[in-house]
């Protein structure tokens, strides 16, 4: 610690602190424009100049200069005020005074500082710039005439997003922020640049002219898309969510969001929302009152109480913990039905079976803070950046700023492969278990295991299981050279701190449980569980996938899993199916089979925001609320239990899932399950492991990372050589960066950038099939056939094709049926 004097005040600060940070901590606000706590020091705007007794004669930028012992700092001398005023005068000389039509007005650093420093005259006169405004992308308006050259957009895009869409170009007075060849912006559209822009040079196009900044309510909540659990501030006016607002003090991610978190909010107030209950009459869905609809549903549920095996529920992990608890109480406890599941069953087994058996709890042993403390990040599946983009930012920072090494083991390359010195080893689709087992085998063979491994339960049985594995043979089968496997094993075993990251999701069928167990075995073998900067992060796909795992929203006493429920509908054993927020027609394997199931089931209730293809087949549709319309909690994949806060009134007559389920509970049992959400949380904290001691009221804005505890054990995982079919392409599915599940397709932002389904293939394959980028191609498997747009690139290895699963039209489950790899032929 260092002691210094700032404006005659004794201040103690860390020796790594800057003058700005030390002053801020002491309650002395130094003005800044180009400074951002997330970014490397820049020192461009010169607003934060201060005087330092020991450095007389110069004015010192407070935001880049570290404190030193005994430093005497003055932040507001006449000279300093004069310099700051000059900076503002100069900026205003070029900056257009178009505040009345600028979306940044009210939230503009330049405007606020001009006001604060009372700069109402200018000694100079000059013409404004006349740069062409970039309207050529759907989401970000770039008006470089307003730019103050703080460089934050270029810096955040480079340092954190690691995309590099911007750079300073030109020199002198003509310097400006440019894009590639100064053309229109074309990037991944995370909008980080918009969020950090201190003026209105970068503004959100969907939000343009929607509301003045000061006229909006700002409501803090949690993003409703992926499992990363980013905190979010919604800008609300007249009970409509108009935008997302950047708050650099929110969450581990300092308010940064990904493309769907930032731009995907429009589904909330979409005019496609269902606003009244619908009941099927004479073969078509007709608007109905809540009373009527609930009566129909509750009658069916009461009826099913006597035959609970004929009842089933598919519940989305987008629901809050309280709603999931209610589901459990209604179906499992009250109606005695264990046929309850989510995420097609397979997408949660990594946690609910894999981690549960291996670690004793259905969650990751590591937390987000471990990412940036690690020496080596072992990423299984490069799609992690697509499934959990903001966690991807953390990885970027770990590699670029903390110097962590990154090894990606995947069936394709990804954005993470482009990080400095990133190593990507590509295995044949479906060979992931084999690769992980081979890595473990090398560690055993070379005696690189940790001393704790042998005393961990199940070690010898597991070791025995690997005895017959030949690394060379595995290398041949999986497509990664034996030397490369050995290098990965050695680097991983020898790394002081190494973290394995494993994304999961409905786009990734196959070895959920086994893969999680295989990587946990690896971590246990090398003593990396329970150590800072180490361990395993198994990442649930949806905003509350982890909550659903914690609450066991899956069959626990012999009930049917999701895919068995679908089969049960087909066979007739399931007669009543209750779907809350799931969209199996689009997202479960084998669309045709699912449609048959939903056609056959006697009574289908769908509770959703939209008339999804699933809802369209229902007997009763109950309009539910989005996360912006309700209170409750989500548990992130990183273990944080966070409050979701109601920002707007329910759209139309829609009701929160909590209220709907509670009303049904009441109708069946004669009394509601809970008085309110808070009471549900209280029960949850008393019954769910790790939630003990948490209180709804004290979670606050920050949330709380719930602890995990259990006994780890090695679990043998059998791995076979990946299947191949000669002459066919191996189709793997997954997530697209702009989308999450089947919800984001109702958001305007994601759809502006990524509007339709596609199939991605390698240049060589495309060439040999005479397919060009953008062509419509037919993709055919033993399950079905589909026409999709081709996207040709270099991300995929030869012989492998990829398709995202989010799109209702041309959904990829038309050709896939739930195996890790689907063999297809592609032609024009």
């Amino acid at each position: 610690m260092v002691t210094l004097t700032i404006d005659d005040k004794q201040v103690t600060a860390s020796k790594n602190a800057t003058i700005y940070e030390a002053a801020k901590a002491a309650g002395i606000q130094i003005p800044v424009i180009c400074h951002d706590k997330k970014l490397n020091p820049f020192g461009g705007c010169r607003m934060c100049l201060v005087e330092v007794e020991q450095m007389k004669g110069r004015q010192i930028p407070a935001c880049t200069t570290p404190v030193t012992e005994g430093m005497i700092v003055r932040t507001t001398t006449d000279e300093i005020i004069k310099a700051r005023k000059m900076v503002l005068e100069l900026l205003l000389l070029k900056h257009p005074i178009d505040c009345p039509v600028c979306d940044a007005a009210g939230d503009c650093d330049l405007q606020n500082l001009t006001y604060e420093y009372k700069v109402n005259t200018n000694r100079f006169q000059d013409e404004k710039f006349n740069w062409k405004i970039d309207y050529e992308n759907p989401l970000i308006e770039r008006d470089m005439n307003r730019c103050v050259h703080c460089g934050k957009c270029a810096r955040i895009c480079d340092e954190i997003v690691s995309y590099g869409a911007y750079s300073f170009i030109n020199r002198g007075i003509n310097a400006k922020i440019g894009t590639e060849y100064d053309g229109p912006l074309n990037c991944e559209f995370c909008g980080s640049c918009v969020s950090v822009c201190p003026v209105g040079a970068l503004v959100s196009r969907p939000f343009k002219f929607k509301a003045r900044w000061w006229a909006m309510n700002k409501v803090k909540t949690v993003c409703g898309y992926c499992g990363t659990g980013c905190q979010l501030t919604l800008g609300v006016k007249d009970s409509k969510v108009l935008t997302t607002i950047y708050d650099e003090n929110q969450g581990f991610h300092n308010g940064q969001l990904c493309t769907r978190g930032r731009w995907g909010y429009q589904f909330i107030n979409s005019d496609k929302r269902i606003t009244t209950p619908l009941v099927k009459k004479n073969g078509s869905l007709q608007p109905a009152t809540w009373e009527e609809a609930l009566n129909v549903v509750s009658a069916k549920l009461k009826e099913a109480k006597s035959t609970p095996d004929s009842l089933a529920a598919l519940v989305s992990p987008r629901l809050t913990n309280e709603e999931l608890l209610l589901t459990r109480k209604l179906f499992k406890d009250l109606l005695g039905c264990d046929n309850v599941d989510h995420s097609a069953g397979y997408a949660h087994t990594a946690l609910t079976s894999g981690a549960k058996e291996s670690l004793g709890y259905p969650a990751s042993p590591s937390v987000v803070a471990d990412v940036q403390k690690s020496d080596l990040l072992l990423v299984i599946n490069a799609d992690l950046y697509q499934t959990h983009p903001v966690l991807g930012f953390e990885i970027n920072l770990a590699v670029k700023r903390q110097g962590s090494a990154i090894q990606i083991v995947s069936d394709k390359k990804g954005k993470l492969s482009k990080l400095p010195e990133a190593k990507t080893s590509i295995y044949k689709p479906g060979a992931e278990l084999l690769v992980i087992n081979a890595i473990a085998k090398v560690i055993l063979d070379e005696n690189l295991l940790d001393s704790s491994a042998q005393s961990t339960g199940g070690f010898s049985a597991w070791q025995k299981g690997l005895e017959s594995l030949s690394v060379d043979q595995a290398a041949d089968q999986c497509g990664i050279a034996a030397d490369e496997i050995k290098a990965i094993a050695r680097n991983y075993a020898k790394a002081e701190k190494a973290l394995i990251l494993l994304p999961t999701g409905m786009g990734y069928p196959g070895h959920g449980k086994e893969l999680a167990q295989a990587v946990i075995n690896l971590a246990l073998l090398t003593g990396k569980v329970g150590k800072e900067g180490s361990g395993v992060l198994i990442l649930g796909e949806k905003n509350n996938s982890q909550g659903a795992a914690d609450l066991s929203i899956h069959p626990t006493s012999g009930g049917k899993s999701a895919l068995d429920i679908i089969a049960g509908c087909v066979s007739g054993s399931i007669k009543t199916l209750y779907v809350a927020g799931e969209n199996p027609v689009v997202s479960y394997p084998n669309r045709k089979l699912v449609e048959t199931a939903l056609e056959k089931v006697e009574f289908l209730v769908v509770q959703d925001l939209f008339l999804t293809p699933t809802a369209a087949m229902a007997d009763v549709v109950l309009p539910a609320c989005s996360f912006a319309e309700k209170d409750g909690t989500f548990t992130s994949a990183l273990g944080a239990v966070q409050r979701v806060n109601r920002a707007i009134n329910p759209v139309g007559e829609s009701r929160s899932d909590f209220r709907i389920l509670n009303d049904l509970y009441n109708a069946v049992s004669g009394q509601p399950a809970f008085t309110d959400v808070k009471a549900a949380f209280q029960e949850l904290s008393g019954t769910v492991a790790g939630y003990a001691g948490l209180s709804y009221d004290t979670l606050g804005d920050e949330g709380s990372v719930r602890p995990v505890s259990g006994t780890a054990t090695f679990v043998p995982v059998a791995a076979a050589a990946p299947a191949t079919e000669s002459g066919k392409l191996a189709l793997v599915t997954g997530s697209a960066l702009n989308h999450s599940g089947t919800l984001s397709v109702y958001g305007e932002g994601p759809m502006l950038v990524c509007p339709e389904a596609y199939v991605e293939l390698n240049r060589e394959d495309a060439k040999s099939l005479s397919i060009s980028d953008g062509d419509q191609v037919a993709i055919k498997s033993s399950t079905g056939e589909l026409r999709l747009k081709a996207k040709v690139g270099s991300r995929l290895p030869k012989g492998v094709v990829f398709a995202p699963y989010h799109f209702a039209d041309a959904s990829i489950n038309t050709v896939t049926a739930g195996s890790a790899v689907t063999f297809v032929t592609i032609g024009k």
Binding site: R171, G172, I173
Partner: protein, 593 residues
């Protein structure tokens, strides 16, 4: 060169020489010598040697012929067609062509200097390692590694009093010790050869004329600091310097003077060239390092200083070409010898690029402490065209001007700063009475405005705002408060800017206001340019009493605005005149005003 090669023909082939046709002259010497069998005729071998710049570029092509009989004789303005005659007379007949010899001022120009850094320049073949070795090349680095500890080398440099020749004048030994003291396995030595000041070309000449001495200087620095790799950042506008340096590097690698275990001394040193893409700001050390890293050349805040966190985040030491070129002489001849040269605070010599309205423009290396007046009058022969000296701009766009009153300022770091100028990299632009000081300030500010990287607000917009005021003044639109505005802005920009560019860019304005405030006032209050330079303020006419009827103005006028017949006084037609000033510049009798 072998010992019995008694006749040496040294042909200056710096950029100046080459552009004046030195290659053709060399080819002609070789052709004539071969065809006529001159070697056999005189019984001695004639070595035609290309050398680097020897300073007086204005007189290129310079050819020195060294014979036993006549010693060293310099011919200037040599053209290929007279080569044969020179060979016949001077070499074969052993008669010096007195008429073609460089005039006495050439010798004065040379003799008044003290050449240390430039000893090799103009004397040896810059493309020959052997030539360098003959001049004790690489002896200094051997001495360092064999006889001295790294700390000892740093001490020696400290004792010598050598200060950075890039302009700032930071003590070199001290700088090295900072980098040497920084923890880290990998460190870098960087040579800044991004010489960008208008009118400065000493680093270019050193690289062109004696590239090996820079390499050796960097090796010594590498040994002292513990760096195993280095970069020379040369601006791409110096193709010949790059070519010769690259050639030298290639030879060094080939012969084991660079790479692993250099010269068997047990230390490794790698060196490569990074070509700059023409941004002035890349002469600023942090911007230079950003540029090497492949980033846009923009300065970074300091601290962290390069010695702690420089190139690629590693401790780095960066010095200028001339600084490195000094090092081997210090090591070979001792710190005490070096410290005996110069003044109390500035040791050794300094190379100046003298340009402008001076008789003999070129490169001069003089001991620090010589007065500005001596450099201009004694070495460079005073002001051209019989005009009156007005000021000298020292230190380029970052420097300031020195007026006649303080012309006895010695050339050392501290005296120049005191005078409101700076050593800078060593450019001296001499101005006479026809130069308008407001216009000079405008010129330099136009340069710095365009070269600002655009990162910090005071420099990016502030310089533009100041330039607008200056342009207003030079076009007669100035208002009395402008001078105070300029002073106020200038002082604030100096203090508030991020890097050296912005911190020094107002200097030309501040120093011209300091010494030539009356010129500003004349522009503003009387709408008059006292030096007849700012064309918007001028009405040109012929002063009949002064006109000698020579017709020079008539010939110079590009728009036929001047009527003149032989023996008649010229007449200037105001209607046609575009105020281009060509007649004024052409008239040697101040008869146009």
């Amino acid at each position: 060169m072998s010992e019995n090669a008694a006749i040496k023909i040294l042909i200056c082939q710096g950029t100046g020489g080459v552009s004046m046709g030195a290659k053709e002259v060399e080819a002609e010497f070789n052709r004539v010598i071969a065809e006529k069998g001159v070697d056999a005729v005189v019984g001695k071998r004639c070595d035609v040697i290309k050398t680097g710049c020897r300073g007086l570029c204005a007189n290129d092509v310079l050819v020195d012929i060294i014979t036993e009989e006549n010693g060293r004789v310099t011919y200037d303005f040599v053209k290929p067609e007279e080569v044969e005659n020179i060979i016949n007379e001077h070499i074969v007949n052993k008669t010096v062509l007195e008429k073609r010899k460089a005039k006495p001022y050439y010798n004065t120009f040379v003799d008044q200097q003290l050449r240390i850094v430039m000893t090799g320049c103009g004397q040896i073949n810059p493309e020959s390692l052997d030539a360098y070795l003959e001049e004790d090349g690489f002896k200094a680095v051997q001495k360092c590694v064999k006889e001295m500890s790294p700390a000892g080398v740093i001490d020696e440099v400290k004792k010598s009093g050598l200060r950075g020749r890039g302009g700032g004048g930071f003590p070199t030994g001290m700088k090295w010790s900072f980098c040497a003291g920084s923890p880290g396995e990998l460190k870098y030595v960087i040579c800044n050869a991004d010489e960008g000041d208008p009118g400065a070309f000493m680093d270019r000449s050193v690289l062109e004329g004696d590239p090996y001495c820079v390499i050796e200087g960097m090796m010594i620095a590498g040994y002292a600091i513990g760096a195993v790799a280095g970069y020379v950042y040369v601006r791409a506008e110096y193709p010949l310097a790059i070519e010769r340096l690259q050639m030298a590097l290639d030879v060094c690698y080939e012969k084991g003077y660079l790479g692993k275990n250099v010269m068997g001394l047990g230390f490794d040193f790698d060196l490569r060239i990074k070509k700059g893409a023409g941004a002035f700001v890349c002469g600023e050390e942090t911007a230079l390092m950003a540029s090497i890293e492949g980033e846009r050349g923009m300065p970074r805040p300091r601290p962290p200083f390069p010695a702690v966190k420089g190139l690629w985040g590693k401790p780095s030491n960066i010095n200028n070409v001339e600084t490195f070129a000094n090092v081997r002489h210090i090591i070979l001849r001792g710190a005490e010898w070096y410290a005996s040269l110069g003044t109390e605070t500035t040791k050794g010599t300094k190379i100046f690029a003298v340009t402008g309205k001076v008789k003999h423009t070129g490169l001069v290396e003089v001991p620090a402490g010589m007065t500005v007046s001596d450099v201009i009058y004694k070495v460079c022969g005073g002001i051209a065209n019989n005009r009156k000296f007005k000021a000298v701009q020292a230190g380029g766009p970052s420097g300031g001007c020195i007026p006649a009153e303080i012309l006895d300022t010695p050339v050392d770091y501290d005296s120049l700063i005191k005078a409101g100028a700076m050593m800078g990299s060593g450019g001296l632009v001499v101005m006479d009475e026809t130069t308008c000081m407001v216009d000079v300030a405008r010129f330099f500010l136009t340069f710095t405005r365009d070269e600002s990287c655009g990162k910090c607000v005071p420099c990016r917009i502030g310089l533009k705002a100041m330039l607008d005021v200056l342009e207003r003044i030079t076009t007669g639109q100035g208002v009395p408060s402008d001078i105070d505005t300029l002073l106020d802005m200038g002082n604030t920009i100096k203090k508030a800017s991020l890097c050296g560019l912005g911190q020094t860019a107002p200097n030309p304005i501040l120093s011209t206001i300091k010494y030539f405030r009356h010129e500003y006032e004349a522009h503003i209050n009387e709408k008059r340019c006292p030096s007849n330079c700012c064309k918007e303020l001028l009405l040109w006419q012929v002063v009949e009493e002064k006109c000698v009827k020579c017709g020079a103005c008539f010939k110079a006028c590009p728009v036929d605005a001047i009527r003149w017949e032989k023996g008649q006084i010229a007449f200037l037609d105001q209607e046609k005149c575009t105020k281009c000033k060509s007649c004024y510049d052409a008239c040697r009798f101040m008869a146009i005003e």
